[in-house]
């Protein structure tokens, strides 16, 4: 625990420095139902459900929904229960400004996702301050950039999370080959059980298990059922673990007695994956990699209906994003952890996706996980 406390303080110092440059007197972070924000955890250790206020005077005030949990997990200079502020974010912000002695007329930055109607209410309530809400160039964007590059402690956690993930992948393959996994639910149950045994906080997200009848969906619905998995055709399993907050995210495809058309799909995916992995390197733009894969698929008349990949961390989807879209300005940097996940989905043949977690280094991409297409 003590070493962790220092990490949160160090991270906050970086934010305070940025606030000083920007002339921000108070920064509000909000992680509540309907407005999740892992910056809360990254900056204070509090896993969820709290407001965090950072002041120009380099003080952190945490306002948790659950004061008992905060006492166990959180690092902050002051902790005050949310009930003291009637569980109203605007009221809490106003009181935080008082408690932290924010000078009238100074700049208060509120969350970038604040809705337009709520923004108007903030303005109305905080008339003595200059309330700002922005995404590009604001605190959210800066924190996204900071978090995209993992520090040593985070990479240490990622290596442990990857070992657990890889053990589960091997176990899934073994149980498929021995017939122990027969249904989507069997696969999910195995993964959940292993996560608990290995002291994970849980799975990284709801496991998606789609047998041959349902694998044509990008993200199958429902997430899993009791129908067959790994039987003739293509099955997709998309899962991750959450280890001390950090999420892995892999997808494996099980191909049982694939037809020639299905085999062509699998080969395309494997080639696209290798193409993308080969391009990963610090300094590369993620747009170029995503565009190369889309171009590769286009040559076979195929269209991938989703992005090539994304960063992972405390969120299962975070920066950098590997999108083939003009507004994508991400440049890969050393210490980023990303997924590469080419996928194609055919209503008749089924779907195939291959996804691994990749650490960006100066020399290329290091595969942390070893997911693959499992041919039965």
């Amino acid at each position: 625990m003590p070493q962790k406390q220092v990490i949160y303080q160090q991270r906050r110092e970086r934010v305070y420095d940025w606030m000083a440059r920007e002339g921000i007197s108070l920064l509000m972070i909000e992680d509540t139902e309907g407005q999740r924000d892992s910056n809360l955890r990254w900056l204070s250790g509090m896993p969820a459900d709290a407001l965090l206020f950072l002041s120009a005077e380099r003080k952190a005030l945490l306002v948790p929904w659950d004061i008992n949990l905060a006492k166990i997990y959180a690092n902050a200079d002051f902790i005050r229960a949310y009930t003291e502020f009637d569980r109203l974010p605007i009221k809490a912000c106003l009181k935080a400004a008082l408690l932290l002695k924010i000078p009238h007329g100074s700049r208060i930055e509120i969350p970038s996702v604040t809705s337009y109607p709520r923004f108007l209410r903030f303005i109305e309530a905080l008339t003595d301050f200059d309330v700002i809400c922005r995404d590009n160039d604001g605190a959210a964007a800066v924190l996204e950039q900071m978090r995209a590059i993992k520090d040593e402690e985070e990479l240490h956690l990622y290596r442990r999370a990857a070992v657990i993930t890889n053990d589960i992948i091997d176990l899934v393959e073994k149980h498929l080959r021995t017939g122990k996994i027969k249904t989507e639910y069997d696969a999910v149950q195995l993964i959940q059980g292993e996560c608990r045994k290995k002291r994970c906080e849980g799975t990284g997200f709801e496991t998606l298990a789609a047998g041959p009848d349902r694998s044509m969906a990008i993200h199958c619905f429902p997430a899993y059922t009791t129908s067959q998995f790994g039987t003739t055709g293509l099955s997709i399993l998309d899962f991750g673990v959450k280890y001390q907050g950090y999420i892995t995210d892999i997808t494996l495809t099980v191909a049982a007695e694939p037809t020639k058309a299905q085999e062509r799909l699998l080969t395309l995916i494997e080639k696209a994956y290798k193409l993308a992995l080969g391009m990963v390197q610090a300094g590369k733009t993620s747009l170029d990699i995503a565009a190369a894969v889309d171009a590769f698929f286009a040559k076979s008349g195929k269209t991938m209906p989703h992005a090539l990949g994304h960063g992972i961390g405390l969120d299962s989807h975070e920066g950098p994003f590997l999108r083939n879209r003009n507004d994508n300005e991400w440049i890969l940097q050393k210490g980023m952890v990303i997924t590469i996940e080419p996928g194609l989905y055919d209503p008749r043949l089924g779907g195939c996706r291959l996804e691994n977690d990749i650490l960006v280094t100066e020399n290329g991409g290091e595969e942390l996980t070893n997911s693959r297409i499992i041919r039965l």
Copy 2:
């Protein structure tokens, strides 16, 4: 399926009527990662990840992320893949206005949760239209009101969901008494397995299982572990099922050899629950009920750190809300389905919460679920 299709159309007709009264030419609904909105499913049957545009001409355009899933689940007049719009919501909105022939200068209502910075970008891109974004009195508020009162089909689903939930509660008690449930994970696994067997889409939300060491948290973190459950002291189990989209939400407390102080806590909760249930009736304000329970706890020097309850439906938390807060204007109406969940949490004694799902009728509250405090 055919009868369902009619339901979605009927619901949309109610929205079109409202749009006509408000002079709205185009209404945009968005359910995407980071901006979930079950109105999508309520109005089209599409379970997730799509945009839905409703026009004054009473046409519905669905723009799904996953076209294969949409073909199975969705009801709309037109379906166009999100990839056609580069997966950009503003671009999709602009094109939808063209496709649906929305006259220049007319009103387009975008989601109430649209962030302030994104709202500015909407305005900039849709210069030919009058873009509005509002929460109070806007489409989101109207849909929340509509959805709060369940129709016959929804109540039919709720009765089935409640039977499944009650069977699981009984099974949990049985397995606790026979020692089959020893850990938090045992309880979670039982619930997940039963949900699948009973053809639910899944659990209603991530099950929270907190043994005596962790029950002092409102919502324990992590959600569950392999530590003991149902052993000496107070354990809390908060779960629900998701049946054809509809979510139940109950909490049971297991009290094993409670001390006198713990027994006093349990009794307070049971009395608070009965007090609240006795007040439920169409026409009552939910503020009055929540205030009565808070006042009851205050007499014993206790403070409940969360609201008394909330509506349930396609969301695990939706209107009406049972909050003791001045801005709460909800009046209970026939056909609402709500939770009542008084809870108290003591760092030393542990926590206790009792939560059931209640159908509001003209004569009172009908308990759909039969959760209880289980004394071992």
